[in-house]
Amino acid sequence: MRVALFVTCVNDVLYPRTGIAVVRLLERLGVDVDFPAGQTCCGQPQYNTGYRHETEPLLRRTAEAFAGHEYVVTPSGSCAAMIREHYPRIGRKAEREGRGSGLADAARSLAPRVHELTEFLVDVLGVTDVGAYFPHTVTYHPSCHGLRGLGLGDRPRRLLAAVRGLRLVELPGAEECCGFGGTFAVKNPDVSTAMGTDKIASAAATGAEVLCGADNSCLAHLDGLLRRADVAPGTPHRPVPRPAPRTLHLAEILAATEEEGPLP
């Protein structure tokens, strides 16, 4: 089987290890991976901030980059949800408003071929035990767009539970948003920080060494809060118990094996 990796702009620029982990994991499972070089960003930041027109060229670019690929796999629930849920809507609106001919068809063609990583593993490949080894205590935060947008359900937790050596502890209030929300994090920094500090406090209280997620943008927010000691001076946030967990993308855990160890 052959898949195209949609690594996403955040992972390309800031978290290449996650992309490398996906390649290593899929190849270990016997899947050939392509990286179409025309891909950049799905346009979610523009769209969610209210700049739908700016999203249209990125929709076209993304659809063209992955034309002809039967399976497109991406390690981000929110980018997958952007393409699956919102691209068809953006395409329809653009055509009705007389801009971007063919955008609706391009969106409709791409949307069903895009799979978030855990969906692809569990539903398409039919595996939950990917042969990984990760001897640590892990708690999992399900990011909102994967959880409620795509309906990933317990797929990520089933994959984690099958990892040898891994002890999975439940995160209290797991389904509550971490407060990232794209540009929300800077437009409403006080509420965003309050939500994020509550989330990391819950994670730390589990005693887990690793706070795992499947969306690096949410993890960038949580990691940023965890590494800043003087969180929001003057605000009554719950203190974070130490030692605090470190954040890690699910793909990097699934890519680690006993023979090869974690990613270099």
């Binding site: 290449p16 407060g179 920094p189």
Partner: protein, 495 residues
Amino acid sequence: MTGGTYLGMPAFPVAAREAVRDGVLRANLRRATHTIRDRRARAVAELADWDRLRAAGAAVKDHTLRHLDRYLLQLEEAVNAAGGTVHWAVDADEANRIVTEIVRATGEREVVKVKSMATQEIGLNEALEAAGIAAYETDLAELIVQLGHDRPSHILVPAIHRNRAEIRDIFRAEMGRWGRPAPDPLGDDPRELAEAARLHLREKFLHAKVAVSGANFMVAETGTMVVFESEGNGRMCLTLPETLISVVGIEKVVPTFRDLEIFLQTLPRSSTAERMNPYTTMWTGLGPSRGADGDGPSAFHLVLLDNGRTDTLADETGRQALRCIRCSACLNVCPVYERAGGHAYGSVYPGPIGAVLSPQLRGTDSDIDASLPFASTLCGACYEVCPVAIDIPEILVHLRERVAQGGPATRDGIRVRIRPAHGHAAERAAMRAARLLLDRPGALRAGERLLARARRLAPRRLPGPGRAWTDTRELPPVPAESFRDWWTRERGTGR
């Protein structure tokens, strides 16, 4: 007893900052919303056909809204036939004028009120006060808000931001100024507080000749009004006074009596987590019971309120907000509401539904209304619990577009083009620049390499708008090599 006003409210992020830093408020809200949230989840899980009830509720509302003109005329006819009088109010001023004139004509200087969002929306209490008429709220939480010279912060539990010690202090200080004083001594036990309110309000019920209410539903085929409440105060107001005035948004109509079957199940479970609503009062005009014994009011006035609803109905994406049955489930699950509190939304409609209703009913011109569509992480918890399946995140993004990019809207029945908001010029330029870069993979790669080379110079604190990130968060470390470059080095150019 003037309530606060929403004029000149600061934008949401500014108002929310105060609430986030108020530890007592944070604790009150967290305790209250989590309790209701968990109870609602259990109550909804009991029904095997919840998803179908939800879809049916949405379908009934959509059908009614599509044929609203027809159903409103049918309703008017039915209410008139049952001895009521129907008034049409295009906006808040007209509705307030109509109600004030009706009360004046009775010669009364006091009215008792059933909890009503529509009368809060139009500022009726303030308008009546200006005309020398005192309006007494009789819902326990509304009474707390009114006595505390406060504003409601939740649709269903307007005093959710108050704890019982604060409520005791308000009762002790204020009750005596408006009627029967609070018992002395008064503790903060909920039973004691409820008894104080009961004694205070009983006098009002027995004296009042005029009552003002809203309605949760209006049945077009029969002209029946329906009020859901939990305390029995509504039943008192709706039956004891001689004149009853109901101010109701035009979107509250349903076609038939049978349609109530759906909402009688979904509304109580979604709002108070109850299987059955405690007090459901229904009346049809003056009704057959209005006989020789003089039961019930002898005059009934229905004021049908538009106040931006027809304009909202004209918007294909935004109109689904008019399905709302004011259950508050979206407030109780919203992580932003939980931290920001209801007052930050600058409207009687707080929380996720407020963030999509207020900028539609009032327009997006003011700072607060232009900021509300951005007061969400788009986490989708609100959509998930909504008993009439309003896709709130979809409307939020749609309204963000209206603010940031501009677009068509309807104002006072006229199709207009909204110009992009001034405050968004720099952001617009940044979004465009980002898009231009991202539309050129070569330029993106060059940018990534530049970033990698300068990675050791990365600052801990960013200037300008970036400060909002780095004030509380570290920036992600910049890797030595982008994924794109790793792939090229390891695998060649790809494809």
